[in-house]
């Protein structure tokens, strides 16, 4: 288990492993938004928490196909399935590795990008907190989607399509926490719900992902 995690992290940071690409994508999407909606700072301040959340979500989404597909293509998954590791553990570790290499950098970068969007001063903390609590759910749900679409050629777009609806609750509560935080309102309720989703996803989805993966390996 630890070996698998260590290997995934090592692969991510080796040349060509794609570490940092998610972050760069996040940066670019954030930059594009003002080009689309116009440069008025008041407007940007209002939509900043939502944009940060959507940007983080998309950056996560685009890196999902690396979670399992590479291991599938070179046969590693077949071999892992016959190794003495429970499939649930494998998918959990994969999701964890994805979060460490994608979600965590996004969480840390979000406040910096908040500057670009004139995030309200009170918002920085809550954007950070909401992403920190919410992105694990994105990784776990995304792993489920990756397991579903494994083996499809260039299934990236289909993967996005399957996963996006599943991301809706996380996005709603996450963005709500960030928005309320930015406006100085109370955040406890949505934060609790967000935590609940994250926790629930982490506890239950690996079983679904493992089942799906076993079916796809057949």
């Amino acid at each position: 288990m630890m070996a698998l995690l260590a290997r995934d992290l090592k692969l991510a940071v080796r040349a060509g492993g794609g570490f940092g690409l998610g972050l760069a994508f996040f940066l670019i999407v954030t930059v594009l938004v003002p080009f689309g909606v116009g440069p008025e700072t008041a407007l940007l301040t209002r939509i900043a928490p939502g944009v940060l959340w959507i940007g983080a979500l998309l950056a996560c989404l685009l890196s999902l196909d690396r979670i399992l597909a590479l291991d599938w293509e070179d046969g590693t998954l077949d071999l892992l399935a016959t190794a003495p590791l429970p499939m649930e553990g494998i998918v959990s570790v994969k999701a964890l590795a994805h979060w460490i290499t994608t979600g965590l950098p996004l969480v840390l970068a979000a406040p910096v990008l908040g500057v670009l969007l004139n995030l309200a001063p009170g918002g920085y903390l809550w954007v950070l907190v909401s992403l920190a609590v919410g992105t694990p759910a994105l990784s776990v749900i995304g792993t489920f989607g990756a397991a579903l679409t494994i083996g499809l050629k260039r299934g990236g777009l289909l993967l996005s399509l399957l996963v996006l609806p599943l991301y809706v609750p996380t996005l709603i509560f996450g963005a709500e926490v960030a928005r309320r935080g930015a406006e100085g309102l109370e955040v406890a309720t949505p934060l609790l719900l967000l935590g609940g989703i994250s926790f629930g996803a982490m506890a239950l989805l690996p079983f679904a992902s493992a089942a799906v993966l076993r079916i796809n390996l057949r």
Binding site: D74, G75, T76, D78, T82, L85
Partner: protein, 204 residues
């Protein structure tokens, strides 16, 4: 542990492929599966390895004592030879890789990235992986693809050593492996009558 397959029936892509396959593999024995392309060797081995379900029949004795090596080697091109082996050793709860490196003449290559190996060297690494698993039953699908004669010899020696230690090996191949002591099972005789797999059968 004796691997015992009895009256197995398997299907692939919605079509029955083989039926009535039975054999037993005792410790110290090797069994070679033969048959023309598409007869179902890969399907059978994947079923034995537990990667897919049988339509009927029974497999006992595999599971936790079995190591599988398929058409692909599961190597990461951005890890070195040693790192690849260490990873698989760790997955199987072990750490010793020297013997495996030596057995497949990989010592000199240990520091090279797996991506920079030739096809034959990659295959040798894939086979060395078996030795670090510490598993008793090897289930191998065309293990000597793209190996030259000398490497086939290394492989045969490794299998002999494994058998001598009480292991066993089940292999599908089109090539002569130089393992005269191994029993041979030709799968052509077990071709399934043309019919749909169980999933489809419900609709017929």
């Amino acid at each position: 542990m004796v691997l015992r397959v009895s009256n197995l029936e398997i299907s692939r892509g919605g079509r029955a492929v083989l039926e009535g396959v039975s054999f037993a593999l005792a410790p110290g024995a090797a069994l070679i599966l033969r048959g023309p392309n598409g007869v179902g060797k890969t399907t059978l081995l994947r079923t034995v390895a537990g990667l897919q379900e049988a339509e009927a029949g029974e497999i006992t004795g595999a599971g936790e004592s079995m190591a599988y090596a398929g058409h692909s080697d599961g190597l990461k091109s951005m890890l070195t030879v040693a790192e690849n082996l260490q990873f698989w050793a760790a997955v199987f709860g072990r750490s010793e890789i020297e013997a495996a490196l030596a057995a497949f003449d990989l010592r000199e290559l240990a520091g090279r990235l797996a991506g920079s190996l030739s096809a034959g060297q990659k295959r040798r690494l894939g086979l060395a992986r078996l030795m670090v698993t510490g598993r008793a039953i090897w289930v191998l699908d065309e293990p000597t693809v793209s190996l030259d004669a000398a490497s086939v010899g290394l492989f045969a020696a490794a299998v002999r050593g494994h058998l001598a230690q009480g292991g066993s090996a089940l292999m599908a191949t089109h090539i002569d492996l130089g393992l005269e002591e191994a029993a041979v099972l030709d799968l052509s005789a077990f071709r399934a009558r043309p019919r749909a797999a169980q999933g489809d059968e419900a609709f017929l």
